[in-house]
């Protein structure tokens, strides 16, 4: 046989291999084919083809494997079991960019499912491979590598530590400065995933000057990028006071407040979480945010969104109010209480209601003025209902009870306390009656209203153990009124009067 014929045989074989791999890759892009492919043993074949001489076959095989692993966790497990990952990784440094992209895609598809799979990726040297990919020039390769690192970092702190140890952070920060939007997005998402675990990791991220780059990207028009940027900033600022201060010094606030009116929900939610993380630390930081009008913006944000999106806003208001009474008063003045009332009535999720109750207790717990403001907003009956409702979760009941306790001990607004007299259980009733006993001795108009609105009658009906605090308060209240009035309103008085009428015998002589 001549040389040409022999070479033709090899060429045909190569063509058929290429055709096979490309078809498998196309089939794998449809979910219904994947099970069939797996049962037919595609994994082992693709593994063999990964070591092929021709680069395009290697790339196509890698792409097919990536699509297979992407489908579900079991497929990814199968990929790992076949020892494919070390093969991908070991020759990565020498290959061209298409192979790197395909390999990064496979690693990403494997790492995204669970912690075990991610640690498998890490243990076979996937991190160094990804770092090599990040040093490439092609933005698509960098994007694939950044996504993989993001998926690995998402699962646990130890994995993130290993990612950082591989020296990925300066490369990710460089990715942030690239002009391609998709690359910026993935880099920001990865940074956000890295920073969410521990302060040390965040420290290392911040030392590379990430904050300035992130802040520069806030003004870009791309919505998804804004989402990731704000999420990254909020993860950075949540750990320590210094980092929150650094974020504030980078002049995030005016842009962040403006972004609270962005049409996209997640952008607004991430801005609200950023503000919440900053506000958590110290009163000075909360004051910075309040001074720049953040409260108004967050309250308007609460008005416009529903459901779980409200949670960061509510928590932010709670943290601001918790620091000092001046800030709590600022929250009240920015029309925070009507908004929180709406939140309580509109939301059905128990954890959101619980956080609203907590925020209300932080606002109302400082002084009489605050407690009166809370009472005037009509929140006390609602809180009582939440506490009494047997359908509420335990957390909700506990928070409602603490809120009621802290507010009732300071509230002097009697008209709003009065409905509570009728419905409350004894441990809440104690506080209500205590408040009445504090205010009634001094205010005669309040006494009159108390009598005419039936409050005195209700107080008489309360049966309390003698020598309990409740009995003491009841006695103090009874002492504020003349005896006849107290007797008139005591239960069963009409019966006594009627009995007196029956027993009375008129002197007939006098009548004549």
């Amino acid at each position: 046989m001549s040389q040409r014929q022999i070479i033709q045989v090899f060429q045909e074989y190569q063509k058929s291999r290429l055709h096979f791999v490309q078809t498998v890759a196309d089939l794998a892009s449809r979910p219904q084919n994947i099970e069939i492919l797996h049962n037919a043993g595609a994994m082992a074949m693709l593994r063999a083809l990964l070591l092929d001489v021709v680069p395009s076959i290697q790339q196509a095989a890698a792409v097919a494997l990536g699509r297979l692993a992407n489908y579900s966790a079991e497929m990814a497990e199968a990929v790992v079991k076949e020892d494919i990952l070390p093969l991908l990784v070991h020759s990565l440094g020498l290959q061209n960019r298409l192979y790197k992209k395909a390999a990064a895609f496979v690693l990403r598809a494997v790492a995204k499912h669970s912690t075990g799979l991610s640690s498998a990726v890490v243990s076979c040297g996937g991190l160094d491979a990804m770092v090599i990919c990040l040093e490439e020039f092609d933005p698509l390769v960098k994007e694939a590598a950044a996504t993989t690192l993001g998926f690995i970092a998402r699962h646990s702190a130890t994995l993130t530590q290993s990612v950082v140890d591989a020296g990925a952070i300066p490369l990710l920060v460089m990715c942030l400065r690239e002009p391609e939007m998709a690359l910026k997005r993935t880099a920001a998402a990865t940074i956000s995933d890295i920073c969410k675990h521990t302060p040390e990791l965040t420290q290392m991220v911040v030392e590379c000057g990430t904050i300035t780059h992130l802040v520069q990207m806030i003004n870009s028009p791309d919505t998804k990028l804004k989402r990731q940027v704000f999420s990254a900033l909020s993860q950075i600022s949540k750990h320590t006071v210094t980092m929150a201060e650094m974020v504030i010094e980078a002049e995030v606030l005016p842009a962040a407040v403006a972004c609270l009116k962005h049409p996209d929900d997640h952008v607004r939610m991430n801005v609200a979480s950023l503000m919440k993380e900053i506000v958590k630390h110290t009163p000075e930081l909360s004051q910075v945010i309040v001074n720049s009008g953040g409260l108004a913006a967050v309250i308007d944000y609460l008005a416009e969104c529903r459901g779980d999106l409200r949670l960061p806003g509510i928590l932010m208001l709670g943290y601001v109010a918790a620091h000092s009474e001046k800030l709590a008063m600022a929250v009240v003045l920015s029309k925070g209480l009507p908004q929180l009332t709406l939140c309580l009535s509109q939301e059905h999720d128990h954890h959101i209601k619980a956080s609203t109750a907590w925020a209300i207790s932080q606002i109302g717990g400082h002084t009489t003025q605050h407690a009166n403001a809370v009472a005037k907003a009509g929140l006390l009956p609602k809180l009582l209902q939440l506490y009494m409702n047997t359908g509420s979760s335990e957390d909700l009941q506990i928070k409602a009870k603490t809120a009621l306790n802290s507010i009732l001990q300071r509230c002097t607004d009697l008209p709003s306390l009065q409905p509570l007299l009728f419905d409350a259980p004894s441990n809440i009733l104690k506080h209500v009656v205590c408040q009445f006993s504090k205010v009634l001795p001094h205010d005669s108009l309040a006494r009159r209203i108390f009598v005419t609105s039936g409050g005195l009658a209700k107080v008489q009906e309360i049966k309390a153990k003698s020598d309990s605090a409740l009995q003491k308060y009841i006695r103090v209240i009874n002492d504020c009124f003349p005896e006849e009035v107290v007797r008139y309103y005591s239960p069963g008085y009409s019966e006594i009067l009627l009995e007196k009428v029956e027993d009375y015998e008129p002197e007939i002589s006098k009548l004549k």
């Binding site: 407040v257 403006a258 009008g293 108004a296 001046k326 600022a330 920015s334």
Partner: protein
Amino acid sequence: MAQLLKMKSKGLKEFRQQYLLRNSQAEEKRWQEHQAATCIQSWFRACKVHAYIRHLHKKAIIIQKIWRGFTARARFRQMVKEAYFIMKMNFYEEMAVRIQRRWRGFYVRKYVHNFYARKNYLAEVSWKNKVIRSGLDELEELQKRERDCLDVIKEQTNKVYQAHRLHHLLSTKQRPGIFNSPFRPGPHETELLLRQVKYHRPTRLTPSGKTCLLGIPDSTAPSLASPGRNILGTCSSRPILPPIASKKQMLLGVQKQPGEVWEQCVRCPDLMRLQSSYAHLEEAKHQLQQYKSMNIDNGMLFEQYTDAHMQN
């Protein structure tokens, strides 16, 4: 003498007896007397010593009395001084407490829990909130307007694209088109669009490229000010180059009616002379002017050039 004689007579025996008796008595009594003497002497010595000690005691008492009085008085003086000092200190402390109380009240009221500062701060927070709320409302409106603008432009481009695709439904003199039904009071807007749209041979580019539709006159776009155009320009991420001019326009540079060139060629044959002399351009101009002055009632060309002359 008598006694001596008595003694000699009676005998020595009695003397000896008496002598022995008295000696023995003396001997017996010697020890007692000795003891007695010792006793008396010791007692006397005791008295002496006792008297001495009494004397000493008395003097010691006097000394101690004086000394104790001295020290007690010194101590008392010290105690008085201390009590005086304590009284003074109490007084000072009380006065200091009064000063500190006033100062702390002043300081706390002025700097720490300043009521007026708090009031001002809360008023400023409310004002700032109002400002921010109005600013945010304006921003939202602006964004909404931008989005509406974009939507309108998209809709309009869509309509124009549809008009391009349906150019064949334009109504003619013979036959009114679908959008220009005789039963309608006036033509449909699509009909108007069809009338305005210029037919381009379809290219491979998708209509989202605005370049194909640049032939549309400005009147089709609704009264959008330049911001609309700018947004149009900034929305596309890749800059779209203007279309390559058609061959006709490239050659002539000025849009000419179809028959013009032929007319020119027919009427001014001299202009097609070969460029052999260096002054041929001036000669050609001359000839053209002569030709024009001869044919006064020629069409546009003449008017154009005379207008140019007038301006010169």
